[in-house]
Structures are given as C-alpha cells and as structure tokens.
C-alpha cells in the first residue's frame, strides 16, 4: 500500500534533503564571507579525492559505524542508549589493558584479545543501566547519561593516577608495543596491488565495522533473538504474550549495544592512537545517535550515514587546513544535515508523494495499469 515507489523513498528523499542542507550550508558560508563553491570543492576533494582523504573519511566512519550500530540495536528494543560515549571510553580502557599488559605475539591475536576486552568493558558499562531499567524501571536515558559522566571520571582517574607512565606530562597510557599495531588499509591493500595512502589512519577495524554491520543485520532480521528484540521493541504486552522475557531482552540488547560501542576502541585506540588518551572518543558516541536515527536503525543505513559523517569530519578538517573558516562551520553543516535528512524529511516526502500520486493518477486515467506495489524484503522500524 505504498504511495510512492520504494526507491524514491530510499534514494530521492535523502538526496533532496541533502541538497537542501547543502544549500543552507552554502548560505551560512556566504554569510561569513567565504566562497561556498570553493569550500565544497575543497571538502569533496579533501575527503574523497584521494586515497589519503578516503583513509581519513573511512577512519571516522568506522567509529560512527560502531556507535551507530550500538544505538540502533538498542533502538530495536525501544531502548534509547545515550551511553555510547561512556561505553566506548570504557571499551578503550579494555583495549588498552589488553594491549599493554598481555604480551601478544601477533596483531591478529591481539585484535581478538582487544575485541574481547573492548566488548567486555563496553558491555559491562551498559550492564548496570540495563539492569536498573529491567529490574527497577530506572529510566535508561538518565542512567546512561550519568554513566557517561562517570566513565569520564573513571578514565581520568585511570590515566592520571594509574596508567600514565611515570613523569609523563600527558594524561595518556604508554604506547602499545609494536606487535599489536594494526595494519592500515595501506598495508592491507598493498598485496592487492592497490597503493592506498600510507598516512591515513583507516585500518583493519574498518573491516571489523563492516562485519559488525552484517552481523547486526543478520542478528536483527535473521535470528530468533533479533526477532524477539524487535517484537519487544514494538510491543511489550505482545512480548509477554509470546513468552519473550522483557528483562532478558533489555539486558541482552543493552549488552550487545554496549559491546558494539566498546568495539569502537579497536579503531581509535588500537588502530589510530596506539595508546589510550583522555579524550579518545571525542563525542563519537553522540554522533552515533544521529547516525542511527538517520540510518533508520538499519545497519545499511547506519553504514551510509556513518560514511556521510566521516565525509563531513574529514572534509571539515581539510577546510580548516586550507582556509580560515572556523571549525564550528562543520558543526553547523552537520546540524543541518541531521535536521534535513533526519527530522525534516517529510518536508521533502510530502511534495514528492504528491508528484508521484499525480503521475500514477494520470497513468490510471489513461487506462494503464498502475505499477504493482513494491514488496519490501526487510522493513526497518522507526
């Protein structure tokens, strides 16, 4: 019973929304006395014009994929996990402990260990809010916000008082040993004859993130657990009827969510910084909320939205490098993108629907058969 072909919904609407956001951004750039065309060129060139740019874009995108997936999984169980930031911080702690205190012979093993550490710590940080929600009804939005603050304090304590090498000024852990350094895309692609930029931080975690997208997709739409998570998310009374335990689903969904957020640390801590620094998450947990919402909680949507935000981050960096445009401009552009693609999408959808309606009406009036309604193999919620 769709009013509009599915492809228009999936392709045209985001596209027009993005164009609107871009147009407004251009106005902002004009207003501060810069040239929007040059700025866009710089951003596109800088973020997508070279393997170097791609390397950074994908690096940021990897972070956002993990945190976006984390938020998305919880969303399917109708849980609003604002705690991705804290869970990712703790994931970083897990990775750092694993990398620093276990002598790994090879990065592959270290990566497995780091993943385990990251997921355990991230999940543990989600477990308490989850438990309180499930058992005591404490609102998960508040508890996860609080746990972000608490995570920052824990991390600060660990770095300043425990893990900082003696006499170092930097509130950061020691550098991880050489053996646990993750291969970058450069090293991964060289054997394939592709000369990817050496300097960019995108690394094997990207593959991990893509795998995570696929796994989350399979989990949500192909497994019984995913079925139960979605059912619970849509109707709590329904879940009760079907014998799906609300406590169990709340816990499991949040643990998965926390583990995914924690996994981000393989990218920024292990892959890029190769040590744990204070501000390692840099708000990626919050960007994850926007990414999940824009991606409509579907892993593929999350994937695309993450790349879009990666592009904005890297394009923005290039803009900051070569112009005097303040870095806050990028924040404004991000805001406009979120606003138009996420919240004001009906502003595009409604007129577009009308256009499609009148086309199909005209066709009907000429006696042609209307196109068959599209079938949707998977329908993301939200």
């Amino acid at each position: 019973m769709d009013r509009m072909p599915k492809w228009a919904d999936v392709v045209l609407i985001p596209l027009f929304s993005l164009i609107l956001a871009a147009a407004l951004s251009a106005l902002v750039i004009l207003a501060i006395g810069e040239d929007p065309v040059a700025a866009v060129k710089l951003m596109v060139q800088g973020a997508l014009g070279s393997t170097y740019g791609w390397g950074y874009t994908l690096y940021y995108a990897t972070n956002f994929m993990f945190t976006g997936l984390a938020v998305a999984v919880a969303f399917h169980a109708r849980l609003f996990n604002i705690g991705g930031e804290g869970q990712a911080m703790l994931g970083g702690l897990g990775v750092a402990l694993v990398c620093l205190y276990i002598p790994w012979p090879h990065w592959t093993l270290a990566l497995i260990g780091a993943c385990t550490g990251a997921m355990l710590f991230g999940a543990a940080w989600a477990a308490i809010p989850a438990y309180l929600q499930a058992k005591r009804g404490s609102h998960i939005v508040i508890t996860t916000i609080m746990f972000n603050f608490i995570a920052a304090a824990v991390l600060n304590y660990m770095l300043v008082n425990v893990m900082r090498p003696q006499g170092s000024m930097d509130p950061a852990s020691a550098r991880f040993p050489e053996a646990v350094h993750l291969p970058t895309l450069h090293e991964l692609l060289l054997p394939l004859g592709i000369n990817f930029s050496k300097a960019a931080p995108a690394n094997v975690s990207l593959i991990l993130a893509v795998i995570a997208c696929v796994v989350v997709w399979a989990l949500i739409w192909r497994t019984r657990l995913g079925y139960e998570i979605r059912a619970y998310g849509h109707s709590e009374t329904g879940a009760l009827y079907a014998g799906i335990s609300p406590v169990r689903i709340t816990m499991v969904a949040m643990l998965i969510s926390g583990a995914l957020a924690g996994l981000m640390a393989t990218n920024n801590v292990m892959g890029e910084a190769e040590r744990l620094v204070l501000n390692s998450t840099e708000g990626a947990g919050f960007i994850g909320i926007a990414v999940a919402l824009m991606g409509r909680s579907h892993p593929f949507g999350v994937f695309l939205a993450a790349i879009l935000f990666g592009f904005l981050y890297q394009g923005g960096a290039e803009l900051a490098l070569w112009t005097t445009i303040p870095r806050e401009l990028i924040v404004v552009i991000q805001a406009l993108v979120i606003l138009f693609t996420g919240a004001l999408d009906n502003m595009v959808r409604i007129p577009l629907e009308r256009i499609f309606m009148s086309i199909s009406n005209r066709r009907r009036n000429r006696g042609e058969p209307a196109p068959l309604p599209e079938r949707k193999p998977t329908q993301p919620s939200e």
Partner: protein, 309 residues
C-alpha cells in the same frame, strides 16, 4: 611559510593557544609574512595536520601542547627536511624537532609568593581546569611559592572536572571561586582556560584578588587581578617563525632565566603590587635563576611537596 597547529582548545582559548596565535600574529605584522594555521578538532587530525602541512612545504611547522608529542615522534622522521616545533614538550628524541618547554612551576612559584603576601586571611586558592598533570604542575609551584613566604598559609586547590568541558565552564569556575572565598580565600589563581574567565569575574565581583595565567590577563578586571603568570608561548612561536628554516632544533627549556615564564606587571595592577612584594619576588626570581632556591616540579615524582591533589 611557517604553519601553526593549535591544540583542541582552539586558538582563542584565552590561554596558551591564544598566546601562540599572538606570537604568530606579531611576527606576521612585523615582517609582513603569512602563516598557515589549523585548529584541531579531533585526535586523529594531529598527525593529519602535521603531514599535510609538511607535504605542502610549510617550514617550520609549529605545534602547541604536549599532546602533539606522540604524533610528532612518528611524523617528524618522515619529513627530515622539515623542521618542527613542539611547545610544552621536552622528551622526544628526533633531530628535526625544536622542543620548547616552560618551567611553569617557577613562574607559578612567583605568583604563589605574591598571593601569600597579598592575602590577609592567610588563605589562598587555586582553581585548575581539567585534572591533568600539567595543571597540577602549575598548582604545585604556586603552593611552594606561597609556603615559602608564609609557611602557615592555607591553600585550597580545586579542579573543575574530568572532561574537556572543564576548560569551558565559567559557571562552575564561579561557584568554585565562591566556595573558596567562603572558606576564606582572598587570592585565587586560575589555571583553567575558559573556566578561568568565570573565576576572574567572580573574584572581581566579590572584591577579592585573582591571578591570571598564560597570557597577561590583568586587563580583564583592572585593579582586581593581582597579576598573571606569564608563559611566553608567544615569544617561543615568534622566535621560531623569525628563525624560519634556519631554526635550531633540540630541547629548550624556558624558565625564569630565559624569561620564558614570569609575572605580569602593568598599569592595571601597579597599585596592587607593593614595593615590598615586588622586591621579594624579584629576589626569589634571582635566587631561582642562581640555583639558590629550587622549585620542585610535580613531574619529578608525580607528587607535590606542598600540596595534595
């Protein structure tokens, strides 16, 4: 063409990034030269900015803040023909880096003395931004200076928080100031970036003295700011730009002797600084330079003899 990389705080942090910017601007104004700059937005951009500027032929590439040490140690060797400047760093072993660090504890020692002398309640305060070793380093020198003047002086030390938001929370700075005032403090030293704006403001409102940091902040509330602990990042940047590609590399520590740190005296605080105060502080300055007084650095064994954190 030189390039300047600001740390995450942004170039207008009213603190050391801004000082670096001022130094660069002075150089540009005086020589008519131009420089590239970037305000970092994320950790990953550190290395990126270094490489991009180096590849674009910028020389020297000047970085501000200890957090650049780690990326510099990996990037600098890749560009042996480019010279880098690392401000607030002194422990790297790379030939083409000029490492400039400041003896903040020495400068803080002097303002600590002034605080103790100006205090009538024998209670003085210290308000740091995010709780990191560097800020403890400031506080530690401050406490030693105060104790040197008056062994009985009470030092109330507070940190604003544990997240980067602690650098930009003037409201919390105000409340901390009020709390310290109510505990008797009548001179407060703020080493807290944007949060310090709130500290200085509230101190002025409540009629007590404050001490600024990094740049000369005396003018913010004339007659209300006792002095400012100067950290001449601007000079370091200026000199690096001036030297250009001929710049000497190696480790440079700028202390009192090098005039890298000091205290500010201008028309805004002339009336607050008595002759007695001035002579005592100048004497101590000389003694530190001569090695007669040794100010313990917090970094030496991650603790402070005069203050508990």
């Amino acid at each position: 063409e030189p390039a300047l990389i600001f740390d995450l705080g942004g170039k207008f942090d009213k603190s050391f990034n801004e000082a670096a910017f001022n130094g660069a601007k002075r150089w540009a104004d005086e020589t008519g030269g131009s420089f590239r700059e970037i305000e970092l937005q994320s950790e990953a951009q550190r290395e990126q900015a270094l490489r991009r500027f180096a590849e674009a032929g910028a020389n020297p590439v000047i970085t501000v803040g200890f957090a650049m040490a780690d990326p510099l140690s990996t990037v600098a060797p890749d560009y042996p023909d480019t010279k880098f400047v690392a401000i607030d760093v002194n422990w790297l072993d790379v030939p083409n880096i000029r490492q400039v660090s400041f003896a903040e504890h020495e400068g803080s020692y002097l303002v600590g003395m002034m605080a103790a002398m100006a205090s009538e309640s024998d209670t003085i305060g210290f308000i740091g931004g995010m709780d990191v070793p560097l800020i403890r380093h400031f506080g530690c020198g401050y406490a030693q200076g105060a104790k040197a003047v008056n062994p009985d002086v009470q030092i109330i030390a507070n940190m604003t928080g544990t997240t980067p938001a602690a650098w930009n929370d003037p409201v919390k700075g105000s409340e901390l100031t009020k709390a310290q005032i109510s505990q008797g403090a009548d001179v407060i030293y703020a080493a807290a970036g944007g949060t310090g704006v709130g500290v200085l403001q509230t101190a002025a409102d409540e009629g007590i003295l404050s001490i600024g940091v990094d740049s000369n902040q005396n003018h913010l509330h004339p007659g209300k700011v006792l002095t400012s602990m100067l950290k001449r990042v601007d000079v370091a940047v200026y000199e690096a730009m001036e030297a250009g590609t001929d710049m000497e590399t190696g480790v440079f520590t700028l202390g009192l002797a090098e005039e890298g740190v000091g205290y500010a005296l201008d028309e805004n605080n002339a009336e607050l600084v008595s002759d007695e105060m001035k002579s005592a502080v100048d004497q101590a300055r000389q003694d530190i330079i001569d090695g007669k007084i040794s100010v313990v650095s917090y970094y030496e064994n991650d603790s402070c003899p005069a203050l508990n954190f």
